[in-house]
Each structure stands twice: as structure tokens, then as C-alpha cells.
Amino acid sequence: MNLAQAFAEELQRLVSLVRPGLVQVRRVRGSGFGGAGLIWRPSGLVVTNAHVAGRGPLEVALSDGRRFAAKSLAASREMDLALLELPARDLPAVRAAGGKPRVGELVFALGYPLGDPEALSTGIVSGLLRYGENGRTRELIRTDALLLPGNSGGPLLNASGEVVGINTLAAFGGQGWAVPAWAVELFVAAYGSADRAPAAESA
């Protein structure tokens, strides 16, 4: 059982390396499970799903217990991404994977499904698929890792602990979907710099 033990130990180590970059996002008003988010830049930029962020004020809790009121910088419903800014510096950001993941590679999902404490699920990259809506398409990662409400905004990690995607929705038949890290990077690059941060899109 050495392999199984090595698997568990390495996975725990991987989670502990990523944990500082994982945040919990809660709406100050209203209810719902809230969701997860990721510290994308040490300068305080946090990425989550647009459907997690909603429109109202948000509170973001770090894994070290600190809590911040978050300012919404941008949101895209089409990509289901929202960019938040925390009033803090030198935050422990996650590492994004470069390039596209390979179908079949192991992935691990972290989040707060159903409001539970941080939970882990495993699977593989099941496919890279275009998903069309209103004549526009975006590429999504499909996974067979178990995703539940509350996993939204959390990371899909590869075997090196890099973020390959942001979990965005669970569908019937056990299929989960994630926004690829490269799309997140483009979104953050477009809206994240201080000099060109537009007001949150109301789309």
C-alpha cells in the first residue's frame, strides 16, 4: 500500500501548498453557499466566479483567518469570472499552469461545497470543449472530479499544484466544468492593472 500512502501524503502536501491562495467568498447581504476564490496576484487581486460574486458587497476570508471587504473591479457573465481587489499587499498568490492541460491528467478540486469546510475531490481532465452561447464561444475544461455548489470559484489543480482552471459549474451526470487558467490570466491582465480598471460591468 506504499503507492496509496504516497498518493495521500503528496496530495496533502499539494493542498497545503495551495491553501494560502484559496479564499472563501461570501455575500454580505442575502443567502446562498457563497463560494471560493483564488488570490491571483500578491497585490490583492482575487478571482472568483461572476455567479458567486453577484452584485452586492462581498466579504473575503483568507485561510489565515483574516477577513476583508472586497472591491469589485470587473465581472464577465459570459466567462463567469469576477475580479475582486482586497485592501492588502504581499498576499500568497496561487500559481497558474502554463499552456493547456492534457486530457487524462489528474486534477484536484478544492472548495467549500455546500458550505462545508474546505473539501477535496479528484478526477481527470475529461476534455477541452467549446461552449457556445449567443453566438459566442468559449473553451471550457470538462472534468469528472465531483463538483458541488460551493466549489464554484475554487481551483482545479494539476499534479504539480498549479491551477489549470477555476471550477464554475456542475452539470448532470457528474460532469464538472472549469474556466481554463489561460482565460483567467487574459481576464486579469485586461482588468487588473491599476491604471485601467473599469467599473464593474453590469451585464
Binding site: 503528496e10 502536501r13 486530457v103 487524462g104 469528472d144 451526470g173
Partner: protein, 299 residues
């Protein structure tokens, strides 16, 4: 992180290699399905995804579209064989070892032109039998907990060395995918390729399991048979002289103590004259019958 990384790379590599013989089958209106090339010009797929006899297009991993004809189909095992117009496929290899419960498997699929899809799981059951409808069974069925997404039917289940372990057929049934094991699937494929279907012999009786009357000795350890409780008009059974009340105890020398043994014994006897061993009253008698062919039915 060596364990995670090497396992991850191994799985991705198995998907990449197995993807070469996983093809897209376009034979229904709703959504594409998958197929497994077991020869350069033969593709195994799931019967229920072949909704038309033509035109059928099979797309190779590189996008090459090849016209295909339906060589044969078997609704009972939910398998169908497609004959490609030209040998364009890169055939997979069959696993050498018997599948084992607990072994890691990948379900591969190509329901769209966007590339290979895969899910991971283990073999849950090996060697089971599956009742398709009363009296009709598929043998050597396996199950896996690898998720079956839309269009996964007809795709191969491969082991981490990307060898063909079985064919995904019915998709989710009772929460786990049904898989026809590789040896069984390939044997059925050969038969379908040769003759277009798998004829199943039938007698035209209704029967129930019944204990044999006291004092009857068959010269073997068999205490039950199948009492005839109805004979279809004009059926092979009626033509052969079978009567209500007869107890069928063997077909072509294979003992029938229960219904499934009768079904199995008749399976490949359509059109042949076979001897029925029957207990009539207190006497064993022998009757000659010529089982008919049960037309393949859609599930």
C-alpha cells in the same frame, strides 16, 4: 510529488495513445457517439447509437471523414460493427490480462470533433451477466464507475497501458456503466461482420421450472426441468409435437434445469434439427424439433 506526477503523466499518455483508435461515429441525429477501431477498416460501436443504416460517417482523430456501412448489429449486447470504405483507422490492441475488479480504467470517447474525452474509474464487476429482456442475457458483462458523459456509448474502456479492455455500451444503468468485455465484444464483432446479426433460436413455448416426477431417472444429477405451460400456434414446438405438461429436461444433450439454460442451449440452434429430451407423464421421450430464428429486437 513524484507519485502524483507520474500517475498523471501515465494517464494522459494512455489517453493520447488510446485516442488513436477512438473514433467519432455519426449515425444518429441528436448527438455524435464513439467507436473503437479494432481493425483498420472495422469499427465496433454501440447498437443504440446507430439510428440509420446509411449514410454513416466515421471520423478519424485527425478529422478524416470516412463513409461506413453497417455490417451487423446485435440489440441484445448493444453492439454494432461498421465497415469502413477504406482502411483509415489505427487499430487498438487488446489487453492481454483478464480485467480485475479494482483495476484503473479510462473510458475514452470522441462524441464531437473537439478531441478526445476521457473519464477515470475502476472496474467494478467482472464476468456478470445482464438480462436484456426476459430470457435474453448478455454474458461476460463488466461494470465500471468511470462516468459516462453524453456520447460516451460505443467508446473503448482501456487500461493504463491503453489496451482495450471492453466496450462501453448502455451508458449509465443503475449508476454504473455497462461494458462488454474485450474478448466477448470482439467475438461478437466477428460474427456480426460475417452474418449481420446473432440469430437466437426459439421454440415457441412458455414454461416454468418444475421438479421431475418421482421415479424418473435421467441417469444424471438433475432434479428439475421446464414444464411446458403453453405452446404457440404454428411454432417449432408445436410442429415438433411438444405438449402442454411435458417437462423439457435437455436440448441437444445439454441439460436444462432452469429457463436460462434452455435459452442458452437454443441460442445457436436456429434452423438446425435438434433432439429434445422430455419427460411426458412418467416416461422420458425424445422429440425432434427445428428451432426457429428469433428476429433481433430493439431493446
Amino acid at each position: 510529488m513524484d507519485t502524483l506526477k507520474s500517475l498523471s503523466e501515465g494517464l494522459a499518455e494512455a489517453v493520447r495513445k488510446g485516442a488513436a483508435s477512438t473514433v467519432l461515429v455519426e449515425a444518429r441525429e441528436s448527438y455524435g457517439a464513439s467507436g473503437y477501431a479494432y481493425r483498420a477498416d472495422r469499427v465496433l460501436t454501440s447498437n443504440h447509437v446507430v439510428e440509420r443504416e446509411g449514410p454513416i460517417t466515421v471520423r478519424m482523430p485527425d478529422g478524416d471523414a470516412v463513409e461506413a456501412a453497417l455490417a451487423g448489429r446485435d440489440p441484445a449486447s448493444d453492439l454494432a460493427v461498421l465497415r469502413l470504405q477504406r482502411p483509415a483507422a489505427s487499430p487498438g490492441e487488446q489487453a492481454q490480462l483478464e480485467p480485475q475488479v479494482g483495476q484503473l480504467v479510462l473510458a475514452l470517447a470522441r462524441p464531437t470533433e473537439e478531441g478526445i474525452q476521457a473519464t477515470l474509474g475502476v472496474v467494478s464487476i467482472v464476468g456478470g451477466r445482464y438480462q436484456v429482456w426476459p430470457g435474453s442475457f448478455v454474458e461476460q458483462v463488466m461494470r465500471t464507475d468511470a462516468a459516462a458523459f453524453p456520447g460516451f456509448a460505443g467508446g473503448p474502456l482501456v487500461d493504463p497501458d491503453w489496451r482495450f479492455v471492453g466496450l462501453n455500451t448502455f451508458g449509465l444503468r443503475f449508476g454504473s456503466s455497462l461494458v462488454i468485455s474485450a474478448p466477448r465484444a470482439l467475438a461478437i464483432a466477428e460474427q456480426l461482420d460475417r452474418q449481420g446479426n446473432l440469430p437466437r433460436g426459439y421454440l415457441g413455448i412458455r414454461s416454468q421450472e418444475s421438479e421431475l416426477p418421482r421415479g424418473i431417472s435421467l441417469g444424471r444429477k438433475q432434479e428439475t426441468g421446464l414444464m411446458v405451460i403453453g405452446v404457440e400456434k404454428g411454432s417449432p414446438a408445436e410442429q415438433g409435437g411438444l405438449l402442454v405438461g411435458d417437462i423439457v429436461v435437455a436440448v441437444a444433450q445439454s441439460p436444462c434445469a432452469e429457463a436460462r439454460e434452455l435459452v442458452q442451449a437454443l441460442a445457436d440452434k436456429a434452423g438446425q434439427t435438434v433432439t429434445l429430451e422430455v419427460v411426458r407423464g412418467a416416461h422420458p421421450v425424445r422429440l425432434e424439433v427445428k428451432p426457429g430464428q428469433l428476429a433481433p429486437r430493439r431493446p
